[in-house]
Symmetry: C2
Subunit: 140 residues, 2 copies
């Protein structure tokens, strides 16, 4: 089902400071920024590598406010890894397959993700405490 | 500095149960198992993808006892993402570069990692709350 580790989502208080840190410390570069109002985050994708199954990124996430999912996460756990996202070829097909195995989906249908991808989140309690996202890249 | 997302390390209470879950739910396969006494863990690597910079894996980690780093992590935070590991070509060189930038290293010299790699951990407080590992794959 998984084509790649698409990205690791990291929650932070200040997106611009954290981008600067990653760029200056590790030499990685921002390839995309966006504000996702529906998810309540300001985010940036930092490119790590490319593979047969697509690119891999670090996704830095700053909440748009304290009452957003990432805002609540930061208040409870502090800065750190928020979720893992895996690339899939067919997010709707994967949703059906996983629902059939009893995995709860946090979205009824795919929604907009970074860089025009289609995404779904799986319930972390059904994936060993890991908030898990599936990402279908846009058609080229 | 980073060649790939080498792996995401996930802490769990029962390695065999979690392997079975990942295999049956997502169709990923175990390609390596080992017990790392020095780190106090029993671990398995599940292959996700290959890229120009090497392979990407999920690493499942079960502590050998409650007084190990992963045992303490589980007691405090429960099951979930424990660390992110990035592939590098020269772990000693990366250590020198990062120490020069003020990043604290948790190891004075590289130590043994999964699949005969050489690894070092960076202090999570210096990397925005993320326990970060660098991995140099063994020479082919």
């Amino acid at each position: 089902m998984f084509l790649r580790i698409d990205h690791v989502g990291i929650a932070c208080h200040n997106l611009e400071e954290k981008i600067k840190f990653y760029e200056e410390t590790f030499g990685v570069q921002v390839v995309h920024r966006e504000v996702n109002e529906a998810q309540g985050v300001r985010e940036a994708m930092l490119h790590i590598a490319d593979g047969e199954g697509g690119g891999s990124y670090i996704q830095l996430l700053e909440p748009l406010g304290p009452d957003t999912p990432v805002g609540k996460y930061l208040a409870k756990r502090g800065e750190g890894v928020h979720h893992i996202a895996y690339g899939v070829s067919d997010v709707r097909g994967a949703m059906g397959e996983l629902a059939g195995k009893g995995i709860r989906l946090l979205d009824e249908s795919p929604r907009h993700g970074s860089m025009n991808s289609s995404i779904v989140f799986l319930h972390p309690k059904d994936v060993g405490g890991v908030l898990t996202e599936l990402v279908e890249a846009p058609r080229q």
